[in-house]
Structure formats: structure tokens, C-alpha cells
């Protein structure tokens, strides 16, 4: 029995074949993969998962591909780190960091979604892949396309960090820099996707692509010894990641791999681009789009596709949302680096900054088992911290000069 039964509209339930479709033609609601959970329940178990490969493909039974994976075989299964120093600093006894800074091969959580999307795109017979991206996704699509021998177009906004641009060019895809914000890029790509038969991973392949994010939840549960955390803090751009972490936890519960999900979802945004958190604060179930203005460029989506569902999932879990300023983001990046030795990109600064606020507010309490998601690597967003980290101390190549500079006594 195939595990994928159909694509079904999340709003009206209309079903479609499992092709490259992402929107319901009746109500424009998002299409989602409908699984045969009964069949999956019959073949999945903790033991089977534990004996699987050390990648996100150990959760193959819950991923929307038909055959064996062909792209992104080493993505996922990143470390879950017990953050004792940061926990002590903030006042949380059991704090963990899910460290996707070291995801393979492009150092962000996007390697998960792209592994799934490109494997599925190949199954559907595509030869060209594309994406609209704030940077990390483009890097991952470009790298995986190179390895898979696929044609590739990546579309990025005009103001990206240097390392994220270089991190595309090196793989030699067609890098299209659009004059405008990510939301402009996204609208344009939606229109291009209507004209060319390409696999746009986050447009016509989106129902498959987005499922890859569930593996962050699966890994967290498994690495915590098959328990769900009390609190999670998740950065929000489109809101898809938060929604899918919730779905992943619920699937494990439904399949009996978890007894109970006590988890509260906490969404983190930068103040300069916080349409979802603002709606949450105002008690609305819809958001108003904004024009982003923040150093957290990877989260700078002013018109978030899953904003509505992120609000819903957060409310369902009785979680919260918070925002941080650009200065707070920089402070949080430094705090994480200086307590745990992890250099996160700006999105990680947003997550840790919000974690810090929620602890201060008493929303996250000392004895809550808490997981913060660090989704990208700091070496890609060096511009954000370059003026906040000081300079090296320059000396002559002389022992005397060194000793004098540091005021050290010889032999001490």
C-alpha cells in the first residue's frame, strides 16, 4: 500500500493526485499530503527508526516520497546539545539546542526540506529545480542540484549577505538577484512557476518540501529519549517550520511513538519583520503583511504563507510569540557563542533572544524541558556582527612584545 494517498486541501478537503500541485483550485487553500496512517502504524516502530541511517531518512515512513531517497542522503540527524552554560545563565535546568548550524551540506535546516523536495521532484520526472529564497534555501537547492546533476535556478532578493550569495555561485546554478524584497521574489516566482515546468521546491513542490521540517521534531523526540519537550522556541519566517514541528509531534503521538505531547510552541520573530507575532499579540487570527526591515534577513518575509497556521498551532499548544530588536539579536548571537561555542546566524539570534525574553517573563519556567532551534550558521551572516566583536590584538613576532602586551610575567 502506498503511504501517500492524495494531496488534500487543508481548508476544504478536496483531493488531488500526488503531483506537482500546491494550491486548491476551488478555495486556494494549501494542499497537504494525506498519508495512510493505519498502514504506516503497522510498519513503524521506535526500534526500526533507531536502526535506520544517521540522517533524516531514518523517518522515511513519514516522508512524502515513494521510493528510496536519491538526493540529500546525509541531511539531518544533527546534534541535540545539552546547553548547560546557557541554561545556567538564563535560569533553565534542562535546556537543549537543536543545532542545524552543522546540517549537511549547506549548514542550515534547509538541507532537510531540500533533500525531500529534490528526491520527490526526481520521482515526478523534473530535470530543473528552482526556488524563491532568503538565502539558505537557495544555497541548499544549488548544492543538492549540483550533486544530483539537475538544472537549477535560484531567485534571491537584492540585499543578501555576501556569504549567502557566494554560497550559491560556487555551485554554478543560475542565480537571479531580483531588485526587491523576498516578498517580491516570491510573487515573481509564483508567476514564473505558472509558466515553466520546473520543480519550484517551495511553490509547486511545497506540499512535499515542507514535510521535511517535521524531521526536526522527530529527531528532537528521539534524541531526548522518546519524550517531547515542554517548551520549544522556533524562529518564524513563513511560519512553515513551526507548523511542521507541531505536525511532527502530533504524528508521533498518533502513531503511538509518543504517549503525550505537552509541548508549548513559542514563535520568534525580529521586531523589524513580525507580522505573525504582531497578530498574536493583538489576538487576531489573520496577519497584516509588512515591509521587512531587520538584520535577520533569513526571516524577512513580510507576507508569510503559513502565518495563519502558525497562529493556529501556537494557540492550540498554548504557546506564545515574542519579538526582539536587531541589537537584541546581535547580543543573543554573542551570548550563544560565548556560552555554548555555537556561532549561529541572525535567525539563531532571534531564537535565543526570544528564549531569553520568555524566561524573563516567566512564560518558560526553570523546570521546563526546553528546546531552542538553531537553524543556520553564523559564518553566513557575518555582516550582522562584524562591528560588535572587537578586533584581534596585533603584536610583533616577539616574546617580549607579547608578554608586555598582555601584562604577563614570564613563566606565569
Amino acid at each position: 500500500m502506498p503511504k501517500m494517498q492524495a494531496l488534500s486541501c487543508r481548508e476544504c478537503g478536496k483531493e488531488y493526485p500526488t503531483r506537482d500541485l500546491h494550491v486548491c483550485e476551488l478555495c486556494f487553500g494549501p494542499l497537504e499530503v494525506k498519508y495512510d496512517y493505519e498502514a504506516i502504524k503497522g510498519r513503524i516502530s521506535r526500534a526500526k527508526i533507531e536502526s535506520g541511517p544517521y540522517s533524516l531518512w531514518r523517518y522515511h515512513d513519514l516522508l512524502p516520497v515513494e521510493g528510496e531517497p536519491t538526493v540529500g542522503l546525509y541531511a539531518g540527524f544533527t546534534p541535540l546539545i545539552r546547553a548547560r552554560n546557557l541554561g545556567a545563565f538564563l535560569g533553565i535546568d534542562e535546556l537543549y539546542l537543536k543545532n542545524d548550524c552543522v546540517n549537511h551540506p549547506t549548514l542550515s535546516f534547509k538541507d532537510r526540506v531540500v533533500a525531500v523536495a529534490l528526491t520527490r521532484a526526481r520521482e515526478l520526472g523534473f530535470e530543473t529545480v528552482a526556488c524563491a529564497s532568503t538565502g539558505n534555501l537557495a544555497n541548499s537547492v544549488a548544492a543538492h542540484a549540483a550533486a544530483a546533476g539537475m538544472q537549477c535556478y535560484v531567485f534571491i532578493p537584492g540585499d543578501l549577505e555576501a556569504a549567502k550569495i557566494l554560497g550559491n555561485l560556487i555551485y554554478r546554478p543560475n542565480v537571479v538577484e531580483v531588485e526587491g524584497t523576498y516578498d517580491d521574489v516570491n510573487r515573481l516566482c509564483s508567476e514564473i512557476a505558472g509558466e515553466h515546468r520546473w520543480a519550484f521546491v517551495n511553490i509547486n513542490i511545497r506540499p512535499y518540501y515542507a514535510e521535511g521540517s517535521k524531521t526536526l521534531a522527530f529527531e528532537t523526540v528521539e534524541q531526548l529519549g522518546w519524550r517531547a519537550p515542554d517548551q520549544v522556541v522556533i524562529p518564524m519566517a513563513s511560519g512553515s517550520l513551526l507548523t511542521k514541528i507541531w505536525k511532527g509531534l502530533k504524528e508521533f503521538e498518533k502513531l503511538g511513538l509518543l504517549d503525550h505531547v505537552p509541548t508549548k510552541l513559542n514563535g520568534a520573530q525580529a521586531e523589524g519583520c513580525s507580522p505573525i507575532a504582531t497578530a498574536y499579540r493583538q489576538g487576531r487570527d489573520f496577519f497584516k503583511p509588512v515591509k521587512p526591515q531587520t538584520i535577520a534577513k533569513s526571516l524577512a518575509i513580510g507576507n508569510p504563507a503559513d502565518g495563519y497556521y502558525a497562529l493556529k498551532a501556537t494557540a492550540e499548544s498554548k504557546g506564545a510569540m515574542e519579538t526582539v530588536t536587531d541589537d537584541e539579536i546581535v547580543d543573543a548571537i554573542k551570548l550563544l557563542a560565548q556560552t555554548e561555542g555555537i556561532f549561529a546566524e541572525t535567525a539563531g539570534g532571534v531564537t535565543i533572544g526570544v528564549l531569553r525574553k520568555l524566561v524573563k517573563q516567566g512564560v518558560i519556567r526553570r523546570n521546563d524541558v526546553t528546546v531552542a532551534y538553531i537553524t543556520g550558521n553564523g559564518l553566513k551572516t557575518q555582516e550582522a556582527v562584524i562591528d560588535a566583536v572587537g578586533r584581534p590584538i596585533r603584536i610583533q613576532p616577539s616574546l617580549t612584545h607579547f608578554t608586555k602586551t598582555f601584562g604577563l610575567k614570564e613563566g606565569a
Binding site: 486556494f28 526587491g180 510573487r187 518575509i301
Partner: protein
């Protein structure tokens, strides 16, 4: 005349056309005129309360109408309107 770009899910209503020309001095008037030529399109664009559906974005000359004056956003000869599904993108 206004040029309206039609997304794939709506092309069943426009007989496969990806771009149509229509009159109209505001976005809502344009949609009324569109519905005269392509019956059924209005029901697809509006919800039961007569508002643009949650998962549809409308742009006038590349600007989201929610940054303008919504359905009342004025249109003039030569303007380009894009109707785009909201569910797209991320990261």
C-alpha cells in the same frame, strides 16, 4: 484597459488564458467585469462574506493591495494586476 495575470488554478475559468484584458476603475469593479466575461471567477476569488479569500494575494503594478486601499484600490488604463496564490515560499 487593465491587464490581469491569471494564476494556474484559475485558468480553468478563463479558458486556459494566463492573461486577460478588462476594464475597471477599482479592483472590485475589475473583478465584477471579469466575472461578466468569465462566469464563476468571482466565487473563486471571494469568500462567503464577499472578501478576497485568505489565501489569495492581489497586486496592482507589483504592490500588494493590502498596502494600498484593498478592493477599493483605484486602477487606471495600462495598470497590471496579478492574482497570486498566497501559499508559496518560505525561507
Amino acid at each position: 484597459m487593465i491587464t490581469v495575470r491569471i494564476p494556474t488554478p484559475l485558468r480553468t475559468v478563463t479558458g486556459g488564458q494566463s492573461e486577460v484584458q478588462v476594464e475597471g476603475s477599482t479592483v472590485s469593479e475589475m473583478i465584477e467585469k471579469l466575472a461578466e466575461v468569465h462566469p464563476g471567477i468571482k466565487e473563486r476569488l471571494y469568500d462567503e462574506r464577499g472578501e478576497v479569500r485568505r489565501f489569495i494575494n492581489i497586486y496592482v503594478n507589483e504592490e500588494d493591495i493590502r498596502f494600498l486601499t484593498g478592493k477599493d484600490t483605484p486602477l487606471k488604463d495600462g495598470d497590471e494586476v496579478s492574482i497570486v496564490p498566497a501559499i508559496a515560499g518560505g525561507g
